[in-house]
Symmetry: C2
Subunit: 137 residues, 2 copies
DNA sequence: TCTTTAATAGGAATTATTACTGTTTAGGAG
DNA sequence: CTCCTAAACAGTAATAATTCCTATTAAAGA
């Protein structure tokens, strides 16, 4: 995991993530490691998770803060990583997905489908300023 | 919208949600209404959004706090509303969904599929204590 | 071993959200 | 129409989640 430098803390954090299948929060990881690493700080956990997520070694689930929608009917969303907006997408709700998920013994009421990418508006801007294409917002 | 009682504040909050297609955060709604409702408080916005979401008049997107996963390969999740856990689900990643989403002119890199329901473990508990079935945790 | 600088610890600061308390008001009874 | 009561509000305090800041520690190349 060649991020920049090896660190005991990051290694242990990654271990915790690999061991349990529970998608722990930063705080859960902190609590788990604290006993064996008394000097560990919560900031370190957050920083390393962020870093590993940026590098693609782990995945970060869910967005930053809750958002709301007046449209109750299920529909999917696009999170534009360029402008940060959350847009509606006309991808139809596929109930078959729910039934497929229930194969594993759970009971599904609904699902949320969030795409990540660049919205059409931002794609347009890109075309105008092709020089920016390499920049990493 | 027969929640309990009519309130000007709730009406206006709902209006904002219907007008803009931007899935505003609670604070964005507050900022938008504050000029015309100088005594509006942020707590009122949060409370009414929560209330309307509970009643099903609006939808709340995204979960409570960020979680992390050591599994980088795309896979879907089940949020169990009973025990609050986020579990992996063996529903295969469907790249066709990304292509379908791009019909609208955006560029999609990946998607996140989160199911909501009751996990198999909690389903088991239900069977044991059928009396609780009616309770609303 | 020494040096350089990324990474850490610890705590302060920020942001998002909920909870609490006293005041206002919707809406039904008289 | 006026009065009453509980629901909803405003304002503020409290909590939770996350990031930022500064001095210190330590990885790893010379």
């Amino acid at each position: 995991m060649p991020i920049q430098r090896y660190s005991r803390q990051r290694e242990r954090i990654y271990q915790v993530l690999q061991e349990g299948r529970c998608h722990p929060t930063a705080e859960m990881i902190y609590d788990k490691l604290k006993p064996s690493m008394p000097r560990l700080s919560l900031g370190t956990v957050y920083r390393n998770l962020q870093q590993m997520a940026d590098e693609g070694y782990i995945r970060r689930l869910e967005g930053p803060s809750a958002r709301f929608d007046a449209e109750v009917r299920p529909h999917s969303h696009l999170y534009c990583r360029r402008c940060g907006r959350m847009l509606d997408l006309p991808v139809p709700y596929d109930e078959a997905l729910d039934r497929a998920a229930e194969e594993s013994g759970c009971q599904v009421e609904r699902h949320e489908l969030v795409f990540e990418g660049i919205c059409s508006a931002c794609m347009g801007k890109d075309r105008d300023q092709a020089a920016d294409a390499a920049s990493d917002i």
